[in-house]
């Protein structure tokens, strides 16, 4: 698998602690702020790109520019300082910011001028565009605010799970547990036309016992869950917000 972007991702630069990018984005320490903004961009650039493509019916090239410029402006103008976790989700805040930004796109000259000096994020837009085409049913969505909220949430989950999968792969490789990851990949990630490979078949293929398949998968899922929740914690500012978001992320039906 290729690395889409050099921000965050599987680089392992972020400690698996309970650091919040949302809070760190307001830090007085420039290095801390930069690190926080990179983490936010890593999780949100794909959802925002796809959102701009669909909600605003922008071409591939325009959406690329707008996404780049949006995150550059977000960081430059310190828009995140205005985000209040008590009043709403970061995702909703970013969507509103993106809408305002795109609506003002007529100021193209300003954007081009700013682009010259702004930090340029290395983003794999081709991969994002390919994903968008594969998820073609989403393109049929009417661009109503409600459906776009759902769309953005789904794409955020996809993006965050993707980051978690990459981190899991990296961790498994560093710990010599490639088979654990490969099993997880084959059983939980890859689609085989709806047919589920049995544990017995996997055991034969990997030359291990079916019990080992169970244990390997349990390990990989446990680690995946931990990593995904750690990533989510970075995107939330409080424990309550984390709980709400985690329920959505894991598809847990609230009581």
């Amino acid at each position: 698998m290729t690395q889409d972007t050099n921000i965050g991702g599987a680089s392992g630069r972020f400690p698996a602690t309970h650091w919040s990018a949302v809070l760190a984005a307001r830090s007085d320490d420039p290095a801390e702020r930069a690190r926080a903004l990179e983490a936010i961009a890593a999780a949100y650039w794909k959802p925002i790109y796809k959102y701009v493509r669909i909600r605003w019916s922008k071409s591939n090239e325009d959406a690329k520019d707008l996404t780049q410029d949006f995150f550059a402006t977000l960081f430059e103008k310190e828009y995140l300082d205005a985000f209040d976790p008590a009043k709403g989700r970061l995702r909703t805040f970013l969507r509103i910011c993106a809408d305002r930004f795109v609506a003002n796109e007529a100021k193209a000259a300003t954007r081009l001028k700013r682009g010259g000096g702004a930090a340029h994020l290395s983003l794999d837009f081709d991969a994002a565009e390919t994903e968008l085409q594969r998820a073609s049913p989403h393109l049929q969505l009417a661009a109503s605010p409600e459906s776009m909220d759902d769309f953005l949430e789904k794409e955020f989950i996809r993006s965050l799970f993707g980051i978690a999968v990459d981190k899991l792969r990296s961790e498994c490789e560093s710990r010599g547990k490639q088979a654990h990851f490969r099993l997880f990949e084959m059983y939980d990630l890859e689609s085989d036309g709806g047919r589920k490979t049995s544990y017995t078949e996997l055991a034969k293929q990997f030359q291990i016992s079916p019990t080992d398949v169970t244990n390997y998968l349990a390990f990989a899922r446990r680690e995946f869950r931990r990593i995904a929740l750690d990533c989510l914690r970075e995107m939330t500012a409080s424990e309550d917000e984390f709980r709400r978001e985690a329920r959505a992320l894991l598809g847990v039906v609230p009581a």
Partner: protein, 345 residues
């Protein structure tokens, strides 16, 4: 990063949401329900070969407050060894960091469902008595349930009645009831666990319609056994009318309505319900035992404390209580009169 399909995301969500029971004695069977704090799963205890219910937090806790609450719920259940209270078997933390406890898996029906199938008022009242017994036992151990409602009562296939979901229970006082071996019951087992989990004054815990007015106002510090007595009165009202009691102004209207307002319930039982649900807790029963005694007296055909009778009511109750004897005497008198009339002809 490879693109994750919707199906892959759904599989990841399912796999991530399921508890990781690796290293435990339990084998997951299925999800059976959700609660305020977590999810309840049916599992098999592989050591004892029996089915158990596992209550598991949905997420590992950073602040550990919910974990502490779940553990506290398990400890409360551990203190309440009573046939009417679901027994807890085990508690701990799973490999994925989520707190859990194992309890008896109760196969049965919730009271709100069961009540639909039971028509006879005395049968409903006998179930109510069982609920009162369990709650009275908890009160004797210094514990308030604070969320008594039909949805938290399970009735088993062999007539057992169990009070469930002690997640918002309040410890009124430490239990000093001596055990049979004359040692005191340890309240908490470690310093960390003795950390009080106090609910802030002003917090509203409970269910509208079943919550005492002082509980609905968030007067946490003022709550005592009479808050549960109110809830029991609301459950009794539900059993009489098969309708969920209403909260607030509507409830007050019901209280001020004639005694027969609780559907077609006997006036004496409706009066018991209304006394238990008195707005001013000073006017409620002083204890669950007093409430249960009134129910027992009603079932026995004796006068109940909540319902002052006039002479007609007394006669009617007396006639009902001794209806068989009265019937036999009347039958005897009729036959006797008939024979006298026949012999004089």
């Amino acid at each position: 990063m490879n693109w994750l399909s919707d199906e892959a995301i759904a599989r990841l969500q399912t796999a991530s949401a399921l508890p990781d029971l690796a290293g435990t004695r339990y084998r997951l069977i299925e999800r059976v329900g959700g609660g305020g704090m977590g999810t309840v799963y049916l599992a098999e205890d592989s050591v004892l070969g029996r089915r158990v219910a596992l209550k598991i937090l949905d997420l590992p806790e950073l602040r550990a407050d919910l974990s502490a609450r779940l553990l506290r719920e398990a400890q409360i259940l551990g203190r309440l060894e009573h046939p009417g209270i679901v027994p807890v078997h085990d508690a701990g933390t799973l490999a994925d960091g989520r707190a859990f406890y194992a309890m008896k898996f109760v196969e049965g029906e919730r009271l709100d469902m069961l009540a639909r199938r039971i028509d006879a008022i005395p049968d409903r009242l006998r179930i109510f008595q069982r609920i009162c017994e369990a709650v009275a036992f908890a009160h004797a151990r210094g514990i308030l349930h604070r969320d008594l409602k039909p949805e938290n009562i399970m009735a088993g296939p062999f007539g057992e009645v169990l009070v469930m979901d002690w997640g918002v229970a309040k410890i009124l006082r430490e239990d000093r009831t001596p055990r049979e071996d004359h040692t005191e019951v340890p309240v908490e087992s470690s310093p960390a666990e003795t950390k009080p989990l106090k609910t802030a004054h002003g917090t509203v815990l409970g269910t509208a319609g079943y919550m005492a007015p002082e509980q609905a106002r968030g007067e946490i510090d003022r709550l005592d056994e009479r808050a549960d007595i109110y809830s029991l009165g609301a459950i009794l009202q539900f059993l009489l009318s098969s309708k969920r009691p209403t909260a607030g102004e509507e409830r007050l209207k019901i209280e001020s309505a004639p005694l027969s307002s609780a559907g077609s319930a006997p006036k004496a039982v409706a009066a018991i319900s209304q006394k238990a649900m008195a707005e001013d807790r000073a006017n409620r029963y002083a204890s669950v035992s007093d409430l249960a005694s009134d129910i027992a007296r009603y079932l026995d055909g004796s006068p109940v404390s909540a319902y002052p009778e006039n002479v007609f009511h007394k006669v009617a109750r007396w006639a009902t209580r001794y209806r068989v004897a009265i019937g036999l005497v009347l039958a005897y008198l009729i036959v006797r009169a008939f024979l006298l009339f026949w012999l004089r002809r």
